[in-house]
Amino acid sequence: MVAGKQTTFLFFVLVLAVAVYYMTRARTGKIPAIRKIPGLDAIEEAIGRATELGRPVFYVPGRTEINTGGAAQNIAGLEVLGHVARMTARYDTEIRVAIAAANVYPVAEAIVQQAYLEEGKAERVKPEMVQFLSNEQFAFAAACLSIMNTEKTASVIMVGEFQAESLMLAEGAAQAGAVTIAGTARTAQIPFFVAACDYTLIGEEIFAGGAYLSKNPVGIANLAVQDLGKLASLVVIIAGSLMVTFGNKSMINWLKK
């Protein structure tokens, strides 16, 4: 074991063990209850709005590559994309997916094609549905603004990892008259989405997206494990803070092992 990672490994194994336990329970029908997440509930409304207005839904599954630290957020964004694509296929609503990372493009394309295939609308898929715009940050943002304005998108959904372009996209969507739903776990960009969007998914709510929308029992079980993990972290933080306050550093030393 690498020095300094023993405690981390212990927590890692514990989290996975609890995850396996809850997922097994979920398969037998014991599904944990989760609270309402307004941002995710609003997705169906947003797609409904686009359908009524006869205008497209614009989706951005994050901007970073799938082999970076933001991969988990990208995957969360792609999970929500699958759900959104199925709904747009079902309601015959146009969808435009903007991709900024080359290695996300084939994945997003496959997801949209699969979604339309499952809804029996495979013939409606066209290349314009999933477009690689640019991996250059502001070229991508400019292209997104152009699509929002020229195609008069009715709803803009952005879930994934974003950087400085987040405010540009959110405010641009608002100026184009679209309903905006956005979510990211990147703490620097959350305030921009909270301020400028109609609905926001904060932090780990984006990881709940796929499970919440699809009502997949195994996915929902994962959410319960996340909450238990946070509870455990809270206990360790409180216990550790109290111990250090009274001069006992054993918790800190154990965490550093």
């Binding site: 690498v2 082999n67 630290g69 940050q137 950087q163 400085a164 990147r186 620097a188």
Partner: protein
């Protein structure tokens, strides 16, 4: 009240004009607002000051074009400070546009008399973001087989004894997004225990403050251009960043005025609606 309502209904382009005037004016007629050095900047300065002549420092150009004006002044002043102390600097980039900035900086200092390969070296750009950083940490020459001039890094005196990221005395990384401090902490600091100081755009400053508090960063230029100005003042090398601070001050004040006016209007309208309902 009419003024407020007119402000609320005003074409947003007038707001842009007001903002433009407030930012450009101090560039033409500097005001000279004094600049204080924050503690996080002072820590960064101290981490470079602790280096001795001959020590090797890694300077990472992980910033894109968009954030360049915010972060490039930071990188330039840190590079100038390090070279002025006789510290030897190896440049790398894990963002493609960072290579351009690295090359410009290297060429500038070579033209000022620094010896390429002895005082300063540009290893170039490696794609792959975090996977490349992880591999770089373990074996530098596995990722940078040749420098920008096509020669093996180990053929240069500056790279003598440098095999992994842990062999550097200090790593200074400048980022506008990904990869950023988090990636370097995960892949390099945690594994090799090498001191890392970072410079970032102002919007990333707050999210990286926890790393400075926990000691995973030894210094943080978290205010973008303002941090660059603070560093310039601290090392007595005033430059472009210092000159731009008046414009930043007035720009911030203008935005705050817009926010306050917008909120006063919002409260007034809400009160009027409540009165109408009553």
């Amino acid at each position: 009240m009419n003024i407020l309502k007119r402000f609320g209904e005003m074409d947003r382009r007038w707001l842009y004009v007001i903002l433009l005037v407030m930012v450009v004016f101090p560039l033409l007629r500097p005001i000279g607002i004094p600049i204080d050095v924050s503690s996080s900047t002072a820590k960064f300065v101290a981490s470079v000051d602790r280096l001795q002549a001959g020590d090797r420092m890694l300077l990472v150009f992980d910033y894109s074009i968009g954030g360049g004006p915010d972060v490039d002044p930071q990188a330039q002043v840190v590079l100038a400070h390090a070279l002025s102390k006789g510290v030897r600097v190896v440049e790398v980039a894990f963002v493609d546009t960072g290579l351009n900035y690295a090359t410009k900086a290297c060429d500038l200092w070579v033209s000022k008399g620094k010896v390429y390969g002895t005082d300063i070296l540009n290893l170039g750009y490696a794609p792959g973001v975090e996977t490349a950083i992880s591999a770089f940490g373990q074996n530098i020459e596995a990722i940078f087989v040749r420098d920008v001039n096509g020669k093996a890094p180990s053929s240069y005196p500056i790279m003598e004894g440098i095999k992994t990221a842990g062999d550097f005395k200090l790593i200074a990384e400048f980022a506008t997004g990904i990869p950023g401090p988090a990636e370097w902490i995960r892949q390099v600091v945690t594994r090799y225990k090498v001191p890392l100081a970072c410079g970032v755009v102002s919007v990333m400053g707050p999210q990286n403050a926890p790393y400075l508090q926990s000691g995973q960063l030894v210094g943080l230029l978290g205010g973008g251009l303002k941090s660059a100005a603070e560093y310039e003042i601290a090392v007595k090398m005033p430059g472009a960043a210092t000159a731009a601070m008046d414009a930043q001050s007035l720009g911030h004040l203008t935005i705050v005025v817009f926010v306050i006016l917008g909120n006063i209007l919002f409260l007034v309208e809400r009160r009027e609606q409540k009165a109408k309902k009553a």
